[in-house]
């Protein structure tokens, strides 16, 4: 495996470890999205991989080299890992160009022109960071990281704090560059919807414990627990053959008659359709429809049992 994390543990105080026995591996060129709530230990993980934090236990290896183990600790400046920090820091005393070539090996200078063209930074090279917008700063940070052809790229919340329009263009830039350069990337985010399209794998992390590590499609259709299922979209609870099951809103079909009944609360206009909010057996229920339904209307629905998601008791919440 190209990137390998085995049984790593990190705690700031002995009572509550931030990372608990985390293990996973990645192939070269893969893009992994590391998903978790704020404060769940995502940034600590990135800092540990980059060498800014030392692990309490476990092993990290990259491209056949052990970076961190019981006896080995490779300093951050000696790891060929690029880290794009959450708040997109640029050195305020340097121009965009000087930020890009900061401590850059001359062998990589040939990459600058190409990347600057792709990201539209050509006209901004002589500006200082305070003369840039948020999106421009973000692009400079990403290019600065990629230009040195790292063995691993770490992106910490690269799409947070951006408005919708800039967010879309930044995601497009990142996707095209990563695809073009085939850089193995770990992307940390708390908002999974931004990265579904660009991730090869998603790792869901909560309370310091790995919840699921799978492809986006598999995670959506076969979530390992209720927490992962809800993370990827709305989930409706219903009783099927005497057991509690779950189903995604898009798998609900409105029919004239069936044993499953719904009471409409509200129809929310979303442009191409309505997201309808209702109750079923006193539980909140969602589905999508082309039609507007008046509140208090009673409807019947049906579904394909293949689309039902079932969790055993251990998986009804999240793994601890």
């Amino acid at each position: 495996m190209y990137f390998f994390v085995n049984n790593i543990k990190k705690s700031y105080n002995s009572n509550s470890p931030v990372l608990k026995n985390l293990s996973f591996s990645m192939r070269k060129g893969e893009i992994l999205s590391f998903v978790g709530e704020s404060g769940s230990g995502k940034t600590t993980f990135l800092r540990s991989v980059s060498g800014l934090e030392k692990l309490d236990k476990g092993l990290i290896s990259l491209n056949g080299t052990v970076l961190n183990s019981e006896n080995i600790f490779v300093k951050p400046q000696r790891r060929n890992i690029a880290y794009v920090f959450q708040d997109f820091p640029l050195f305020p005393h340097l121009t965009v160009f000087n930020n890009l070539i900061f401590n850059l090996d001359p062998a990589f200078k040939k990459n600058i022109d190409d990347l600057v063209d792709v990201t539209g930074l050509k006209t901004l090279l002589n500006r200082y960071p305070h003369q840039l917008s948020g999106g421009e700063r973000q692009r400079v940070c990403i290019v600065r990281a990629i230009v040195r052809e790292p063995e691993l790229l770490l992106l910490d919340e690269p799409f947070s704090n951006l408005d919708k329009k800039i967010k879309k263009s930044i995601i497009d830039y990142v996707e095209s560059i990563l695809e073009h350069k085939k850089i193995t990337t770990i992307l940390v985010t708390h908002d999974i919807n931004n990265i579904l399209n660009i991730s090869d794998k998603i790792l869901v992390f909560k309370g310091g414990v790995l919840q699921q590590y799978d492809s986006p499609q598999k995670m959506y259709c076969h979530p390992s627990n209720c927490y992962c299922a809800e993370l990827l979209g709305d989930l409706n609870e219903l009783n099927f053959q005497g057991k509690k099951h779950y189903i995604r809103p898009e798998h609900i079909k409105i029919v004239e008659r069936s044993e499953y009944e719904l009471n409409i609360i509200k129809s929310l206009f979303q442009g191409k359709d309505y997201k309808v909010k209702a109750t079923h057996n006193h539980n909140e229920f969602h589905f999508y429809s082309k039609y507007f339904y008046e509140p208090k209307t009673t409807l019947h629905f049906d579904f394909n049992p293949k689309n039902l998601i079932f969790f055993n008791k251990k998986c009804e919440s999240y793994f601890t």
Partner: protein
């Protein structure tokens, strides 16, 4: 307040002044060379002593870190002239250093038997005394840089050493320049130490021409040249700093990530400045006091201490009152006039004491010749006036930064709740800036307590303070007898400094 004495000085100068400069080229040349040479050595020494400890103390967590951090500021409690008198004696042939060598290390004692009253040694002594300006400025700047830029630099392949020179120093240039500016102003202002070491600088030449040679035009010419030099340095600092004031994005505090192998370095770096900048002169002074305990007169001690405390307290109170008023107006109205007023308050510190003293004598002479009959020279009010002008900038910094921390919306909310200017001042502005006001008062108090040249020029007849008495005895080769006055100054200033640190950390 500030411009009146300067305008008087300029109006007193005439075409003769420039002829004087031409006639006494050699004098000006020697003073210029000495002043700039002394300035360069002092700046270099204070940078070495202040910069590296500031960095290591900022990024390392180690035992006694807070204590060492406080001790690093203590040389501020010892006036430069007392430091120079003490080291002059310590290094002299009959002083403890050479006596020790003659007794215990005879073979090398001859090598060290030399004249230590040189400009190079004075530069080192002034550096030992003034490095806290660099240390204080850099400590704040290094802490503000935060860990993001340091981590970023590391993740881009730099080690700590490269990070320090490629990131930390460039980002701290405004702070370092401000510190160099303050050190330069102190050196240009220095009189007691340079006089004791027998070095001719602009300040000593002003004193010599005015008092010893009664040559007014030479004194005024030198004062104008000194003023021009100060103006050039002030403008350079002002424009360079406004160009390079970097806006850091919100940043987290530096975490202490240094490994234990390097943990000896903060002790090594802070050992030299603390020991040589504070404890050695202090111990020497204490020994002198003990040796001469019988020769001190209590009445004299009480009277000079009271005079020093009264002058310091009165000047500091006036400074604080003026600042509260000016900064309140600036905060409330933010007009260009109020901006100019607040900028002018920072100019006072740039005026060397000798120039200011001379300007006020000229001013009162002009006043006496043209408007009023009573001479202000030698009056208590003229002395206080000069001290207020000179040290108003010292009080401005803590009070301004305290005011800047209060969001403007606080005042807007209070106005919205019906408070007018007086109410705002009484119920919001003063209570919220209590610590800033206190720190401003105490910092001014320390500086006035240590001040020498202005008090020497403008003190009323038969009136002495601790600083003037220390100087008087030291230049008459009675350093041992002056030590009790030095000790009192150091004691009062150290206690005040401790209170400032306490207020600022609150």
């Amino acid at each position: 307040m500030i411009s009146v004495p300067l305008l008087s000085l300029l109006s007193y100068s005439n075409i003769d002044s420039f002829q004087v400069i031409n006639e006494k080229k050699y004098l000006f040349f020697t003073s210029s060379i000495n002043t700039f040479y002394l300035l360069s050595i002092t700046i270099l020494v204070s940078l070495i002593l202040g910069l590296f400890p500031a960095w290591y103390i900022t990024i390392n967590q180690f035992k006694f870190r807070k204590t060492i951090d406080f001790l690093m500021y203590l040389p501020l409690a010892i006036p430069t002239y007392i430091m120079a008198f003490s080291y002059g004696e310590i290094l002299s042939y009959t002083g403890p250093f050479q006596t020790f060598l003659r007794f215990y290390l005879k073979p090398i004692s001859n090598f060290f038997n030399r004249d230590y009253l040189t400009i190079e040694i004075l530069g080192i002594i002034l550096g030992l005394s003034l490095y806290p300006y660099v240390y204080a400025s850099c400590r704040i700047s290094f802490s503000l840089i935060g860990k993001t830029y340091l981590n970023l630099s590391k993740s881009l392949g730099n080690n700590w050493f490269k990070t320090f020179f490629k990131v930390v120093i460039p980002l701290s240039i405004p702070a370092i320049l401000s510190a160099i500016f303050l050190v330069s102003m102190e050196v240009l202002n220095e009189y007691g130490a340079v006089k004791y070491f027998g070095i001719n600088t602009f300040t000593t030449e002003i004193f010599k021409s005015w008092y010893a040679l009664n040559d007014e035009s030479t004194a005024v010419s030198i004062a104008i040249i000194l003023l021009l030099i100060v103006f050039v340095i002030f403008s350079f600092e002002y424009f360079y700093n406004s160009r390079f004031k970097f806006n850091y994005s919100p940043n987290s505090k530096i975490d202490f990530t240094q490994n234990n192998n390097n943990i000896i370095l903060p002790y090594v770096f802070s050992f030299f400045p603390i020991i040589f900048g504070f404890f050695i002169p202090l111990i020497f002074i204490i020994f002198n006091v003990v040796d001469n305990i019988g020769s001190f007169k209590l009445v004299e001690l009480t009277s000079y201490t009271a005079n020093s405390i009264i002058i310091s307290a009165v000047s500091s109170s006036i400074i604080v009152l003026i600042l509260i008023f000016i900064l309140f107006i600036d905060n409330q109205y933010r007009s260009s006039l109020s901006k100019i007023l607040t900028l002018l308050t920072s100019l006072g510190y740039a005026l060397p004491g000798a120039v200011l003293g001379l300007s006020l004598i000229v001013f009162s002479k002009l006043l006496n010749n043209n408007i009023i009959d009573i001479s202000l020279i030698g009056s208590f009010s003229l002395l206080i006036y000069a001290l207020v002008i000179r040290f108003i900038a010292v009080g401005r910094s803590p009070l301004k930064s305290s005011i800047d921390k209060i969001p403007k919306s606080t005042f807007e909310k209070a106005q919205n709740l019906g408070l007018a200017n007086y109410g705002l001042l009484r119920y919001i502005y003063i209570p919220l800036n209590k610590l800033g006001i206190m720190s401003a008062f105490l910092l001014c108090f320390i500086d006035v307590m240590k001040e020498l040249p202005i008090t020497l020029i403008l003190m009323p007849f038969n009136f002495n303070t601790l600083s003037t008495k220390t100087y008087e005895l030291a230049v008459e080769e009675m350093v041992d007898l002056s030590s009790i006055f030095s000790l009192l100054i150091i004691g009062i200033c150290s206690l005040t400094l401790f209170s400032v640190k306490k207020y600022l950390s609150e």
